[in-house]
Symmetry: C2
Subunit: 372 residues, 2 copies
């Protein structure tokens, strides 16, 4: 009775650990547990058929009524019955386990310990099926990008450089919808596609809104999640409809060089912080300084990249703080950017699968700045 | 120093309370707090501009650096600094506050108490802007449904009753994509549209897959979330392409009668359990029994309805367990269903705004069974 089992209480839609452990997703919460070789889920009658059909092969499916008497639905009693069955005195849970239920389970005399760091460390290292799922999402994102480029090429430049398409003003919202439609056709959930032009493109997380203009950068950051697998893709390109200024051209070339330098340094054994710093240094030395004034950050002020999997942002981070060497098997973005409120922003993002000797680039989208 | 402040740590995308309190959504986690009349968010540099632009007017926006010295990013230190600023000894948090951070904050000597029930009880009662946002999502769902009906009407009935459309087999996946495309055009995020035919329609949460057939029920449960407002719509219709059997017709008529009875009972002061039981009784008395055999539940085995807002399933539930009277201002679904593995399922769902004298129906989609 001394062992600790692993326990998750979450919906598959909100909790990537649940989806990873159980193998399926639901809008409503259910339990997952793991004890030695035993793995199981405990679901409501409404989810029973789905669970039987979609759970990982190794995961046993239980109904709540297997643990509780008829009609009752008391989560604490259920967890107590589970602990008895598994002969454990407590549970290791994900760091975001719901506090209310943790407190109730502790009051019932069971230990509840949140994991330090990742609940499933293996999530960081992708197997073949996961790599394939991520590539499928990435291809859908690239189809969305190709559609956006087509729309921009078809667009016309009106008075004051405003772009028009299909007889109407071309806005961030319209361009985003065209990208998203292309991805939905491929079974993706588009949740926050960025199409930011002009000054908005200088804010890395600004999704973009309103009229788009010629001769000014448009950042398109496209990150679809597969409705079936749950795995994400992630890519960013920056284009100019018409002619880019010399300054924008220089910034584009510098970001591209930083991305390629970053990619060349990604391999098993490499230290993420050093990859970040090398890319940052290249841009600084090219004359693009990073800093903060009273109104905004400028230059390169985010991490160089992040892991991608069942979450769009997951470990490992390619940030100046992460000194844990890559091990191989991770999928990470490399996405340097330069942002200046005076003229906008440039970000270029590729997706890499880390191997022993280097990295395989999972992005096939071409690189170009101007769309004439 | 005795007061308790309210605190949320979450991303707006995963936590409806955060979106409700702060007024905006992000993919990454940030802090929200409330103390007396003071409300604020504490965000990273990357989210600062978005927060300033999109936060509720009454919510002050702080950068992490307003609470921490340069460069550090320690959440516990940040919360300690916040408690000092607010002169409180602890925090009331949502029930799903992340356990890891609750434990760390408690270790630092501050109280962390999860809310019993709702963190923002007012979320249950919608103001005019919220009602309008939900209606916009509902209209997008209805546009999706209209598209599906159009596709089914255009479809042809081949050998073995298999449906064909545009020269190819008509599957759940294709019908779902047509619905979803229509909703994406209207700025919605389609996250799990159900198009389940045949035996799959007897499982209320089965999203549907594979070939669709004539003369057999197809359940379409459509619940879009607005990408901008975050509010959901929710509607369900069941149709038959071709001719329905007498049994399916009778079940359809019974579910429709149960829905209309349920709707007529919804008003301020009504007890949700009694509305559920009245609808269930009507169906039982029409000869459609509820029970469970070795392989599946059959009959009517889910709650009659649920609240809809920033979550697709939220309070109040119209379930046999909920005896708290409605107060007026809630938005709830009424969605009886009948499910029998031998022939499939029927579910019909409308959305209601609860008023003092009754309820305003927010669904405009027509009711019909057969598409000839």
């Amino acid at each position: 009775m001394s062992e600790i089992a692993r326990l998750i209480l979450a919906s598959g839609e909100k909790c990537a650990d649940m989806r990873y452990g159980a193998g399926f997703s639901t809008p409503d919460e259910f339990f997952y547990f793991e004890c030695g070789r035993e793995r199981g889920v405990i679901v409501s009658p409404l989810e029973y058929s789905r669970a039987v059909k979609e759970a990982h092969r190794e995961v046993s499916v239980y109904a709540e009524s297997d643990f509780l008497g008829g009609g009752r639905c008391d989560r604490v009693e259920l967890v107590k019955a589970l602990a008895e069955k598994l002969r454990v005195k407590g549970f290791l849970v994900p760091d975001d386990f719901p506090l209310y239920w943790a407190d109730r389970i502790r009051e019932a005399g069971l230990a509840v310990r949140p994991a330090e760091g990742r609940f499933f460390p293996a999530r960081e290292f992708k197997n073949e099926l996961e790599v394939e799922a991520i590539i499928r999402s990435q291809r859908a994102g690239e189809a969305g990008l190709a559609r956006a480029v087509e729309v921009l090429r078809e667009s016309e430049i009106g008075a004051d450089r405003a772009l028009f398409w299909n007889g109407a003003a071309l806005t961030s919202e319209i361009l985003r919808a065209e990208i998203d439609l292309e991805m939905v056709r491929r079974g993706m959930l588009p949740t926050g596609t960025i199409c930011a032009g002009g000054a908005q493109s200088a804010q890395p997380h600004n999704a973009g809104s309103g009229q788009l203009y010629a001769n000014s950068p448009i950042v398109m950051d496209i990150f679809p999640q597969s409705a079936t697998s749950g795995y994400w893709g992630d890519l960013t390109r920056t284009v100019v409809r018409g002619k880019a200024s010399d300054l924008v051209k220089k910034a584009y070339g510098t970001v591209l060089a930083a991305r390629e330098l970053g990619k060349s340094l990604v391999k098993a054994g490499a230290i993420p912080a050093e990859i970040h710093l090398a890319a940052a240094r290249l841009m600084e030395e090219a004359g693009f300084h990073t800093g903060r004034n009273e109104t905004a950050d400028f230059g390169f002020f985010h991490g160089l990249g992040h892991g991608v999997g069942l979450e769009i942002h997951e470990a490992p981070r390619l940030s100046p703080r992460n000194r844990t060497p890559l091990r191989g098997g991770e999928i990470v973005t490399v996405e340097p950017g330069l942002y200046y409120p005076e003229w906008g922003g440039i970000r270029l993002e590729d997706l890499l699968y880390v191997t022993g000797s280097g990295a395989r680039c999972l992005t096939e989208a071409p690189d170009f700045l101007e769309i004439d």
